[in-house]
Symmetry: C2
Subunit: 272 residues, 2 copies
């Protein structure tokens, strides 16, 4: 058994990128156990010293160097951390050189400029989140003109989280409409959806998984029975095929994977 | 004026990490204009060849090498892309060597294992999203026992998107409760919140910004007037101080920044 190591994901921002990157690199070392620590907002030299102290303490305890993944932009902050007892996966140091050479310019850092970009993105995304909430679960169909995409599917097939993710990450306005038993029995697309046919994207899910999810909401009901789930899933898939609506099976995917795959399949362009 | 370049963010997954990383590196070259292209799900050698063709076409058009940021795990896919007309910021190639040396093992890649981890995470996050939706806007207060955090603040101070982000990204169960004019006039914490005092986190916002946001919802109303916004913000901030509730001003931050800062300040531990 190999020693335990501590992996630090450090950033001057939220730490989300350095963590995602670090985890994907560490996944390739499956025989090792990594204690994972994310430290966001290390944005001053003082905080860098505190961080270095944490790294040193972990290395001392583990009896082995820590592994450090960082996406800190400022050189002076990064230098302090580099002196601690860790192997630093220093992305900026490694790649700014080759980039400068290729682009034929020195790199710079201008805080102000990034901030402005962020605020525009923020507004677009909040608008999109509000749109998703207002147009969730077929609550309204009047605003479908504004939608970038309308997700359809049976109850609990993953529509709402996917809409919210599309909004939050890409500023995409995503409405969703639950296909009810009535819609299924009619064997045709509800009227409010017909005129927006080119915006529709269907979700489907394995009946066993659907029954499990529904069971948590309403145990031992007709709604959560495998028979009912089988019926609904089979019928909506038939409808998708008949109406030539693009669709995907969400069973084995995470929310971000579902969202990204829909964008690719439906050729939706991000808003921000 | 420097030439336009095309920047490619390529991944065998969603592309979110390589994009975030690439953008933060490119921000340091503000004199350049980059046409940005994200290509997710490049997970076969065949798709790698298609991708290489796109890169070559962009380089031909720009009259300059493309810049490629990739987080593709499989070596054979990465090698195909490396042969295209781009400068490849090849994170795996750069850092697997030093990691192998430090850990004293060869790296491997096992698809199956990552998948399992993802599914657990998925369930936790979907549960948390459903929790956030069910406990949004003070809809219910019975389930506050289950909450990891309860965000409070005046209407439109950013509670809902923040709760959803905490759920989606970290699996944190976040409820939110809007402080109404009634609560403010009473000058005390609503009863349903009192017993969960240690879970409360306050949001505040600059009155000018609040008025702008409210104006979009209900133009020229008392609700969106600067006078009303000033009053509400001033009073809730007083309440936060009096009741010793930790709080932050959301005005200049993106949703992910607000969420991450709350986690740090309130010492909330992520669920996944």
């Amino acid at each position: 058994m190999s020693k335990q190591r501590t992996a630090f994901f450090i950033s001057d921002g939220t730490g989300i990128t350095s963590e995602a990157l670090g985890v994907s690199l560490l996944t390739r070392f499956e025989d090792h156990h990594f204690e994972k620590v994310t430290l966001p907002y290390v944005d001053t030299v003082e905080k860098a010293h505190e961080t270095a102290a944490k790294i040193n303490a972990a290395a001392e305890r583990d009896g082995a160097k820590a592994i450090i993944f960082d996406t800190i932009v400022q050189d002076d902050i990064r230098k302090v951390i580099k002196k601690s007892a860790g192997l630093m996966i220093d992305i900026f140091a490694a790649f700014l050189g080759p980039l400068e050479k290729e682009l034929g310019t020195q790199s710079s850092y201008n805080v102000g400029r990034t901030r402005i970009t962020k605020n525009t993105r923020y507004d677009e995304r909040i608008d999109a989140v509000n749109y998703a909430l207002d147009n969730d679960d077929g609550a309204r169909t009047k605003l479908y003109d504004q939608a970038d995409v309308i997700l359809i599917g049976v109850s609990r097939s993953g529509k709402t989280p996917t809409c919210l993710y599309l909004a939050m990450q890409y500023g995409i306005k995503a409405a969703n409409y639950p296909l009810t038993e009535e819609d299924i029995e009619d064997q045709k697309l509800p009227k409010s959806l017909k005129q927006h046919r080119n915006k529709l994207f269907g979700l489907t899910i394995e009946p066993e998984r659907l029954a499990m999810i529904r069971h948590e909401r309403r145990a031992n009901s007709r709604y959560s029975s495998i028979k009912q789930c089988n019926y609904e899933v089979e019928e909506v898939e038939l409808m998708y095929r008949r109406e030539r609506i693009p669709f995907m099976n969400t069973t084995h995917y995470s929310v971000e994977e579902i969202a990204t795959r829909i964008m690719v399949k439906a050729e939706i362009v991000r808003r921000c």
